[in-house]
Symmetry: C2
Subunit: 368 residues, 2 copies
Amino acid sequence: MRTRVTDMFGIELPIFAFSHCRDVVAAVSRAGGMGVLGALYFTPEELETELKWIDDHVDGKPYGVDVVMPASYEGADFAPEELVGRLQAMIPEGHRAFVENLLAKHGVPPLSADAEAGRVLLGWTDATARPQVEVALRHPIALLANALGPPPADVVELAHAHGVKVAALASTPRHALKQVEVGVDVVVAQGTEAGGHTGEISTMVLIPQVVDAVDVPVLAAGGIGNGRQMAAGLALGAEGVWTGSIWLAVEEADTPELAKRRILEATSRDTVRSRSWTGKPARLLRNEWTEAWESEESPGTLPMPLQFMLVSDALRRIGRSDATELATFPAGQIIGVMNQVRSAKDVVFGLVEEYGEAVERLDRLTGD
Amino acid sequence: MRTRVTDMFGIELPIFAFSHCRDVVAAVSRAGGMGVLGALYFTPEELETELKWIDDHVDGKPYGVDVVMPASYEGADFAPEELVGRLQAMIPEGHRAFVENLLAKHGVPPLSADAEAGRVLLGWTDATARPQVEVALRHPIALLANALGPPPADVVELAHAHGVKVAALASTPRHALKQVEVGVDVVVAQGTEAGGHTGEISTMVLIPQVVDAVDVPVLAAGGIGNGRQMAAGLALGAEGVWTGSIWLAVEEADTPELAKRRILEATSRDTVRSRSWTGKPARLLRNEWTEAWESEESPGTLPMPLQFMLVSDALRRIGRSDATELATFPAGQIIGVMNQVRSAKDVVFGLVEEYGEAVERLDRLTGD
């Protein structure tokens, strides 16, 4: 296969795989696609370790790193050293009480006294994502992606100065135009069915609009899990696909066992767009956590990054408890068709094979 | 083009066009697709007139009729003659007051004393849709479609006895299976981006699931407005496409001028799933009407058919007033890319031409 993005990155297949797991990233790149490591949860030191591992396991194939630099968030004008403290002070007591009550109702114990301190900010802010960018650019990455809107112009310049292409996720044609204005090389047009932060427009409607709005290559994201969907994405005008949820349940993925089981059992209706994770709408597994935040008792969610600061310890407590009904994580509607564990390589090859079948079928239907 | 549905109906193009306007239905059928008249708003007598007109203007080409027989609604066990009265009595005063206050706030005058009585039930119930079915089957229709879940088994049998194929709209694989169980010949798998009553799963994710779940041909619905989307739908495994919103703004459509203008101006984010029209979630133009029903003052919506009974006179009053900010109607996300008025024939031919280009492009990308 050959599109502008296979040419741009020197890859065989226009398949991009977003994952927080280095094993998946390396496996997809080795299989001919492009693995993209989600940096969000890593400290700069940890990210250094992960990227070093990938460098050692990717057989020289290109890979990317994805950061989260939201264009707007509370505290964007605070000095880095006082960021956490001032933000913590902005979280209302009523919200803290709601979270405590919810955990108490489900019997979730507190963290043990010797538990490591939580990372309440992660890479959700410019201040915390920039050090990740610096680490990433010290490695031979081919792509730097920004998961929330247009990246800062100087970050785009810095990446380009390192010979690194920049991608950004867009959920409207207007977003896409803004991204191209700051110099983004590839737009990932992401439909509402995607996991994680996502807009309202579906992939089917969004892709042609973005393709028509910008001159750079567009990747189709949201609801892409098999080769028929890959063919659909390319028929819509995309030059490749950006996938995420399908890597959560592959053999290589370090996804917790419970989450893997949930994903294999879920239907496509078992996800919901919710602000209960980060404060911005993200598609999550629908469960008692997301329901609680929609209930009449809910105090409403807080703006980014306050919501995650509010809930980060709670999510850790839930993860260590038996309250599996509260364990939430980002997941797209495509989890409804995932019902077996395969290797990342098998998933890549399956996408390509089924893609070929879909294109042949179209030729056949059109021939008569 | 040739698929199982072009064979089934003897049509040239696997393009189905849902419209409440007879001119659109006839124009699409004459152009080689299949027009399907939405019967909902017509009394049996009016429907007779519409179908007679289509018979006279369709040049012998096949066309269909779409009814709404919800599998469940309030009052399903009431005798037809007392249906309206008993249902009216179930509408809470608080809801009536909310509607009156909303209209008063926007300066919407009451209906004039000599205004015709409103049709508060339309074809939303089994009791009111069956007479429409009887009228339809007296005409040479090729297809009877049901817009809300599986049609009653005896209606399917009756249609088949008349040599008429039956289609039904499904928004989950489970719905599709139920429909095939009652004998439906074609499943219309409809994604959340569609206008009117719609589920939560996007077209991109839904179509392959439904195609894999049933043996009958599947039409892709939701977000199909150009040939790239048609190619995407067929790449996903569908044997044709079911379109609706794109016919609202064609030359032939009797859509009110205001609505046409709104559609041409709207972006894909200007629609929202709302229960404020019928009580079941339907995608509508997002405006002050839909916002009001989501606001803190909202009493919540009523189950079908009570909600439409509650609001039907209000919608008529709004339609005759200057309160255009309250005028709502079903519309899919695809209205975001509709920005010119074309003839129905041009839209059909445009779909086919762009479909061909999309398939050629896929061949080219795959060739290297």
